[in-house]
Every structure is written in C-alpha cells, then in structure tokens.
C-alpha cells in the first residue's frame, strides 16, 4: 500500500491524536496539539509560490510585533510589510519554508510546555500554609494563571504578542522573566562559549590524533582520555577539579563570578563531556576521510603528511563535529545547572531547572522559548558553517 503523502499526514496526525486520547488527555488539548502539528506539517505541501507568500507574510507579521514597540504603528507596518515583500521577492523558498515552520513551532512549543507544566503536581502559588481557594483563585486571576492550561496559553500568547512581555516570574516576586533571564544570558553565553572552545580544542586534538592512527597507542590513549569525560557525571568531575585546583592548589577561586579566573574551572567541567563526544566524532570523521580517494591523490602529489591532514583532511574530519555543535551549544548554554550550582554562577541553567521545580510557569516558558531560539540560531549557524566547510551543500542552503 503506497500512501499518498496527504493521507500519510492525516494518518500520522490521527495516530498521534489517538495516542494522546488513549493516555487520557482531554480532547481539547489533544485537538490543539494535533492542530499545531498540522500547522507545522502543512508547509511541506506548499509549493514554492505559496511558501513565498506565507513565509513573507509570517516574516512581516513577526517583524511587526518587534518593530511596533519602538516605532509608531504606521511606520512599523510599512517597514514590516516592506521586509516581508522583499523576502517574498528575494529570499529563497528554502529559507522561507523554515520561517513557515518556525512560527507555528514556537506557538506549539508554548502550548505543549504549558500542558506539561500544568500536568505536574503543585502550583506556583503553593505555600507552606494551605491557603483558601479564594486566595488562590484571586492570585491566579491577578497573575494571569488560570486553572486551565488552554486559558493560560491564550493569556500568555496575548501578552507576548501584544506587549512582547514574557510575564512576571511567579515565584521571584517583583521580577519579570526578562529581569531574571536577561542578566543570566550573557553569563551563560560567556561560560558556554568558553566551554565550547575548550571542548572543541580538546576534542579535536584527541579525536584527530586518534583517528590518524586507529587502533594504535595514540588512539587508545586519546580515546581513553576522552571517554573519561563521559564516564563520570559532571558534578563529580567538577568536584574533583575543584578539589585539586581550587582547594588543594589554591590556583583558582572555589566559586563565584566576576573575574576571568572564575571562568576556567566551570568551563572545563562543562566542556569535558562534550569534548569526549567531539573526540569521538572527529576520530570517526578522520578515519573516514583518511580512507577517501582524494587523500591518496594528495599523497600521490607528494604532499607531506602534515599538509595532507591539515589541508585536505581537516575539513572533512570536522564536518560531523560541526553538525554536533548545534545541539551541543544549546545544551552547553542551558544545561549548566550542575556547574552553576557547584561553582555559584548566576547563569541560565539555574532557571531551566528551578523554573520547572518551582512551577514558575512564566520562567519555564521563557526558558523554553530561549532554548528554542538558541537551538534555531545555532542550527542556522551550523548550517552556515557546514556550507562554508563543504561547498557541495552550499547550493542546498
């Protein structure tokens, strides 16, 4: 039986909806999710002209939401429309198709996250002393957190769309989500980038060294070293590093944030598991590249081994690493809770965990949106880097 693609979509969506209903999700919520997924899926059926129109329109709409805040509405509309039109004319459909998918993805993300949060026991308004229903209801109304996740979703989306406001934190009084995540972002960024650089430097060195001589001592020692990075939870590694470099040797501060010396140990802790993955990927990449015919060609030209490795093999060897960097960067920037806790760093990882644990719905949504954006941004960066490295995929971008 060959399905037509549209039948396939309907079947897939129906199956997903069915599974949701089966596990006891209310029909409205299941319906919303399936609708969201359908919106996500629909651009696959858009022909290039439709993609241009829809993508341009969505781009204009999103742009308008941003521009409207600093600019007078008329100007914002004109500007947004102009950019949308330009996109319609000039931006390749491949990119506009991404836009078509991104916007519904973001909305669906908010809805799904809301559902997940609401389904966890406890509420942001729980306090040690049981409060009366009336007090709780009043608080829910005041903070815009009604009992139903769907209602909450509506309120939240309205707030975001109308004022670009991600709401107040529900558990840290007096702070908006922006207040909390705003200052944390550059911290995580600094930490994350440093870790990423460290991870790449360590991982590539070990991986390429191992890959050039597979099954040799160099291979075993490099990979052994790398695998240590993923053989222990990073809080153990962090604690050990701390013990050695901060407590025993006293070279570096034990915790805190402020000077560059505060950066090193946490970044290293954060980097090690990723370094291990990178080492593994670059090892495999190197082995594969070194077996390619063009390496033999390079040898036949009389190039030295070093030139062969660094000029001819390197790009191909790090390609798998590059595609790993997207998820890695997102993970490194946001998954640093352990490191932050261990080293007392005011970064974003804290909110990723504490938001969920404290049921701070707006913080959770804020972090989800940031994570989503980071993933998207880094995927784009990675795609660009990939194209830069591999000319063959440039045209497909």
């Amino acid at each position: 039986m060959r399905l037509s693609s549209f039948q396939g979509l309907l079947l897939t969506l129906a199956a997903i909806g069915g599974v949701f209903l089966l596990v006891g999700m209310p029909p409205i919520q299941a319906g919303f999710i399936v609708l969201g997924l359908a919106l996500l899926a629909l651009p696959a059926w858009f022909s290039a002209p439709v993609v241009r129109v829809v993508g341009g329109a969505l781009l204009a709409a999103v742009l308008y939401l941003f521009l409207r805040l600093p600019l007078p509405p008329a100007l914002a509309i004109v500007l947004a429309a102009a950019v949308g039109f330009a996109a319609w004319c000039y931006v390749p459909p491949r990119i506009l198709r991404r836009v078509c998918v991104l916007v519904p993805s973001m909305v669906l993300l908010v809805y799904v996250t809301s559902l997940l949060m609401y389904s966890a026991p406890g509420s942001p308004f729980a306090q040690e002393k049981a409060a009366s229903d009336q007090v709780i209801a009043a608080k829910r109304a005041a903070w815009g957190v009604p009992e139903s996740p769907t209602e909450f979703f509506k309120i939240y989306m309205t707030r975001v769309l109308e004022d670009f406001d991600f709401g107040p934190s529900l558990t840290v009084q007096g702070r908006s989500v922006m207040d909390l995540l705003g200052p944390a972002f550059p911290v995580s960024m600094s930490l994350g980038l440093t870790a990423l650089v460290l991870a790449c430097a360590i991982g590539l060195t070990l991986g390429i060294r191992a890959g050039l001589r597979p099954n040799s001592f160099a291979d075993y020692s490099s990979m052994g070293l790398a695998v240590i990075g993923i053989s222990l939870p990073n809080f153990v590694i962090g604690a050990l590093l701390l013990m050695v470099f901060a407590l025993s040797l006293g070279w570096l501060p034990v915790a805190g944030w402020g000077t560059y010396s505060h950066l090193l140990l946490p970044a290293l802790t954060l980097a090690l598991p990723y370094a291990a993955y990178i080492a593994r990927l670059s090892r495999a990449g190197t082995i594969e590249v070194m077996q390619q015919d063009f390496i033999r060609t390079a040898r036949a030209k009389g190039l030295s081994e070093r030139e062969i490795v660094f000029k001819h093999a390197l790009k191909g060897a790090i390609l798998p690493v590059v595609s790993f960097l997207g998820p890695a960067a997102a993970g490194i920037m946001t998954g640093s809770f352990v490191v932050e806790t261990l080293f007392g760093i005011p970064g974003m990882g804290h909110w990723f965990v504490k938001g969920a644990i404290n049921r701070d719905y707006s913080v959770v949504l804020g972090t989800a949106i940031i994570y989503f954006s980071i993933v998207i941004a880094f995927n784009l960066l990675v795609d660009m880097a990939y194209a830069w490295l591999d000319p063959r995929v440039r045209e497909d971008l």
């Binding site: 399905l3 693609s5 549209f6 396939g8 979509l9 897939t12 997903i16 997924l37 996500l40 899926a41 696959a44 059926w45 998918v101 993805s105 669906l108 993300l109 997940l116 949060m117 389904s119 966890a120 026991p121 406890g122 597979p214 099954n215 075993y220 990979m223 695998v227 240590i228 993923i230 053989s231 222990l232 939870p233 809080f235 153990v236 050990l240 701390l242 013990m243 407590l247 025993s248 598991p273 593994r280 495999a284 082995i287 594969e288 077996q291 998820p327 946001t334 998954g335 809770f337 352990v338 990723f352 965990v353 969920a356 644990i357 959770v364 972090t367 989800a368 994570y371 989503f372 993933v375």
Partner: protein, 296 residues
C-alpha cells in the same frame, strides 16, 4: 524427483553477525569492556543475593566507617553497608540504563523506520515533529515527567526510565530513519519489492535486520547517556531511591577541605566510571565491528 535430503545437507554459513562477533573479539579494548561490563553486572546482581547483603539496615552509631575487612566498602552516613548500597544501586542504574534504552529503541525504531520507509512528505512531517521535540529543552521534559509521577513512583525507577526513554528516542529515530532511507533504495530491497514483498515484510525482513547493527551500537552508547542523566536527576533530588547516581551525588558532598570520606564518592564513582567506560568502549568496538565504513 525425490532426492534424499541427506545429500542436500547444507553447510552452515557464517552470518554477518558472526563476522562482527569475530571482529569484536579481536578488539581487545571492546572485549575488555564487554567482560568488565558482564563482571559488574554479575557482581551487582549476584553478590548481594549470595552474601545476603542488606542495603537498608541503618546503624547510625557506626556511620562513616572506613573500608576494612568487615565492611569492605565502609559504611555511609547512617551506617549502612556501603558495599550493599553500591551493588544494589548498581542494579537500579543498570536497569534504568537498559530499560530506558530499550524504550527509546522501541519508539525510535518504530518511528524512524516508518518515517524513513514511507519517505517523502510523511517523512518530512514526522521529522519536523522530531525537530520540534528536539527544540523543547529535554531537561525539563525529563523533570516534568519525573515530577508527574513523583507520588506514584516513590523511588521506583519506572517513571524515570520512562522519562529518559521519552527524550532519548529522538536521536534513535533520526538515526534509524537515515539508515532506512538509504536502505530502502538498496537493490536488495528493490529486489524484494519486485518479487512482490509487502511493506511489512520489507521492513521486518529486509530493513530492520540491516539497521540492527546501527541500533545496537547506538543503544550501547545510549545506556551510558541514560545512566549519566539519571545521576543528574539524582543530583537534583528527583532520582530514584538508590542508584549509583544517588550515591555519587551524595558522595560529592564529601569533597571539601575539612574531611573527605573519600570512599563514599570514589567507590560508586569507580563502579559508575568502569561501567560507562566499558559501555563506551564496547559501543565503539561494536561500531567498528558492525559498521564496515569506519573499519580498517
């Protein structure tokens, strides 16, 4: 034309699995990993039963007893036999690792092979959903799912592995889908189609056996990832009652300049590291053995 079956007695061929096994056996590192892993598993599951070890009985008066002949692993902060705790904790960690991986394999293979096999728009849509799920921070997916079950679970590892399986299947689905995409246009699949094989037969007879290698490799590498993730949850206090993750995250508390009851961190870490080390090397070895592309 009756022919005696005896004259037809077939020679037994060596399957690719046998070949891979032979290659694996040559890879000393991987073999060492497998042996070590088996050893750890046997020790964790058999020794507590054989020796009748009790991981729960407390004896606070005897807490922080350093390792000696009577307590080979010492005791913990309320005087429980740390040997028993490390081994019983190992059972949970290994179970979670294997179970979550199995869950992710089942979902991932199912989803990935459907997407890859039907291809085209179905594939595009299904992969878009996966991309979407990727963009949800897996951490609070795990946390929220774990919270969801925190009451019913009461330290039971089931929800944790469910939660971990739920996030791990995505990569599996992607890998499987990629493999299926290439496999379904391989000539032997086309050949099967020309002789009239149906979709199910093609998926189960022709495609799945051929991606099994990749799946096994990836699964071997998923187990350590799951175990590490579980330890992270334990660090947050969302973990199970007793696992290596729990022990290690408790043990981290002793790393300080005052006094380190080092064995509380080092012993479970050692077991954890050995297991993960073995799994990783086994995984790499399996990859080398099963995937001829990276083989020399």
């Amino acid at each position: 034309m009756a022919r005696a079956a005896a004259t037809l007695a077939p020679e037994k061929g060596t399957s690719l699995w046998a070949d891979a096994w032979r290659r694996l056996k040559r890879n000393r590192l991987a073999l060492g990993g497998a042996v070590l892993l088996g050893l750890v598993a046997v020790v964790c599951f058999v020794v507590p039963v054989v020796l009748g070890l009790d991981s729960e009985t407390t004896d606070p008066a005897n807490s922080f007893h350093p390792p000696d002949a009577h307590y080979p692993f010492g005791t913990d902060n309320v005087g429980r036999d740390y040997l028993a705790r490390v081994l019983v904790g190992g059972q949970t960690s290994l179970l979670i690792g294997v179970a979550a991986t199995l869950a992710s394999v089942l979902i991932g293979v199912f989803y990935g092979s459907l997407a890859g096999y039907y291809g085209g728009k179905v594939d595009e849509v299904m992969m878009r959903i996966v991309d979407f799920l990727y963009a949800i921070p897996y951490m609070f997916l795990v946390i929220l799912i774990t919270l969801q079950f925190s009451k019913e679970a009461r330290g039971n590892p089931l929800p944790i592995f469910f939660a971990l399986g739920m996030v791990q299947w995505l990569t599996m689905a992607r890998i499987v889908r990629g493999e299926v995409l290439t496999l379904k246009n391989r000539e032997f699949v086309l050949a099967a189609r020309t002789v009239g094989a149906g979709d199910l037969r093609i998926i189960f007879r022709h495609i799945l056996p051929n991606i099994l290698g990749v799946v096994v490799v990836y699964a071997t590498l998923t187990v350590p990832a799951v175990i590490i993730l579980e330890s992270f949850l334990s660090f947050l206090g969302l973990g199970v009652k007793l696992s290596w993750g729990v022990l290690v995250s408790e043990g981290v508390g002793v790393v300080n300049p005052i006094e380190s009851h080092a064995w509380l961190l080092l012993l479970p870490s050692l077991f954890l590291a050995l297991t993960l080390f073995s799994l990783n090397f086994l995984g790499d070895g399996l990859r080398d053995a099963l995937d001829p592309r990276t083989r020399r």
